[in-house]
């Protein structure tokens, strides 16, 4: 692997100071940055391990909000009694990422900061009206995801925790690519006590995760798969590659929204 210098700061301030001093990348679970370094897509002179900073840990629910520390692994979130009780579909989503070994290391903060267009978490953040807290400020999920592998984070900014609004019910439906197991299309749909509905789709959009606003409005009128009749995603907004055409993804994404409504209260994985 490309030579690098490993750092293990114990405070956010120390981590940010190392980042500011030279060419650096943060590492938590390492399941994105290490493969990227192996593939020569990244060659940071410094790798700054964030997993030993106490502010980035912990999961708790209070006052209608579920708060998850950025360094919590997918296995932590999937197994958390607090998450399973507050938002079971979110625990199910975490438990559907990668495989058991990947889930032991990969973190929610890393997934969110990386914003892979096929990542699972970004759809949950958008649909659950999440707030991303950093070492500098807080950002609404609607303003956070800005494109493929792009976010509103500034250079060196560290995601510290994410808070989710606890819905009345929420569902996650994912259709897996049979080879990579990443989402070909997946939808997170949440219904809130004030009657509002938020729905977001990952894996399919050509600008990354997006909200299905027309479907949200229809579901607010009537929370049923019938309410989605006549609505469709535009193929022009979808990704197109060897795994599936834009037309196929537009169709699949709608089917996933329907399934997330049909199976609200849980995460369902289709293949």
């Amino acid at each position: 692997m490309h030579p690098t210098t490993y750092h293990r700061p114990l405070t956010l301030k120390a981590a940010a100071a190392i980042h500011a001093a030279g060419d650096s990348a943060y590492i938590a679970g390492g399941h994105t940055i290490l493969p990227a370094i192996k593939q020569r897509l990244a060659a940071p002179e410094n790798l700054i391990d964030l997993r030993h900073i106490p502010e980035l840990t912990g999961i708790h629910a209070e006052g209608g909000l579920l708060s998850i520390g950025a360094a919590m692994s997918h296995a932590h979130v999937a197994a958390s009694a607090v998450v399973r009780s507050a938002i079971p579909a979110l625990a199910g989503l975490a438990g559907s990422i990668g495989d058991p070994m990947v889930r032991h290391l990969g973190t929610i903060g890393g997934s969110v900061a990386n914003n892979d267009p096929a990542a699972d978490y970004p759809s949950a953040l958008l649909a659950l009206g999440a707030t991303v807290f950093t070492d500098r400020r807080s950002l609404k999920a609607d303003d956070f995801f800005t494109g493929l592998y792009a976010s509103a984070l500034d250079a060196g900014e560290i995601v510290t925790r994410i808070t989710f609004s606890v819905p009345v019910s929420a569902g996650y439906a994912k259709f897996r690519n049979p080879a990579s197991r990443y989402a070909m299309a997946a939808a997170f749909v949440a219904r809130f006590a004030d009657g509002s509905v938020r729905a977001a789709v990952t894996g399919a959009g050509n600008r990354g995760v997006f909200r299905a606003t027309a479907m949200e409005a229809a579901l607010r009128q009537s929370f049923s798969t019938d309410a989605l009749r006549g609505l469709a995603f535009e193929a022009g907004d979808m990704m197109s590659d060897i795994h599936g055409s834009a037309e196929y993804r537009a169709h699949l994404a709608k089917v996933m929204v329907q399934r997330a409504v049909q199976f609200t209260g849980e995460a369902r994985i289709f293949k």
Partner: protein
């Protein structure tokens, strides 16, 4: 260079390594524990699975420096002496391997799986849990049978 100190299979091991050294390189090249294999080197195949502080991880996608201070269990640490660990014995009994390349990772994954599910496993769950371990010989049938047998033996021990 970083001085990495790990407790590997119960024994304290220290070595000076380049910071970019992967955990699997540390185990194989520095400690000569070559039972842990590298299949794909892209976190997909699971041949490199070891336990770090009790959790199964892919050692091709973790720096030795990230594991500094941790306790590591590899396939070499499973059996006490000449007697096979129950999972190793079950893989042998059920012909859960052909070439054997994936076997150390399969067994380390299976041990983690049995622990997390407290031995309560069915074939569907085992197949889901094996998502990250690839075998190009067997078709998994006998691997699943071996893990279920070892899980049942674990449950029997708890009664």
């Amino acid at each position: 260079m970083t001085s990495v100190q790990l407790t590997v299979n119960g024994k304290l091991s220290t070595a000076e390594v380049d910071d970019q050294t992967l955990l699997v390189e540390f185990l194989r090249d520095k400690l000569r524990l070559t039972g842990t294999h590298v299949g794909c080197d892209t976190s997909q195949c699971g041949a490199c699975v070891v336990h770090v502080d009790g959790l199964a991880v892919k050692s091709c996608t973790m720096l030795a420096a990230q594991a500094n201070g941790a306790s590591v269990l590899t396939i070499e640490g499973l059996s006490g002496g000449d007697e096979l660990h129950p999972l190793q014995a079950a893989f042998r009994k059920h012909h859960g391997l052909q070439c054997g390349y994936c076997t150390p990772g399969m067994i380390m994954c299976a041990l983690d799986m049995i622990r997390r599910h407290d031995g309560k496993l069915d074939a569907t769950t085992v197949r889901e849990e094996l998502e990250g371990n690839i075998c190009r010989c067997t078709g998994y049938q006998n691997i699943v049978a071996a893990i279920l047998d070892a899980a049942a033996a674990t449950r029997a021990l708890q009664v």
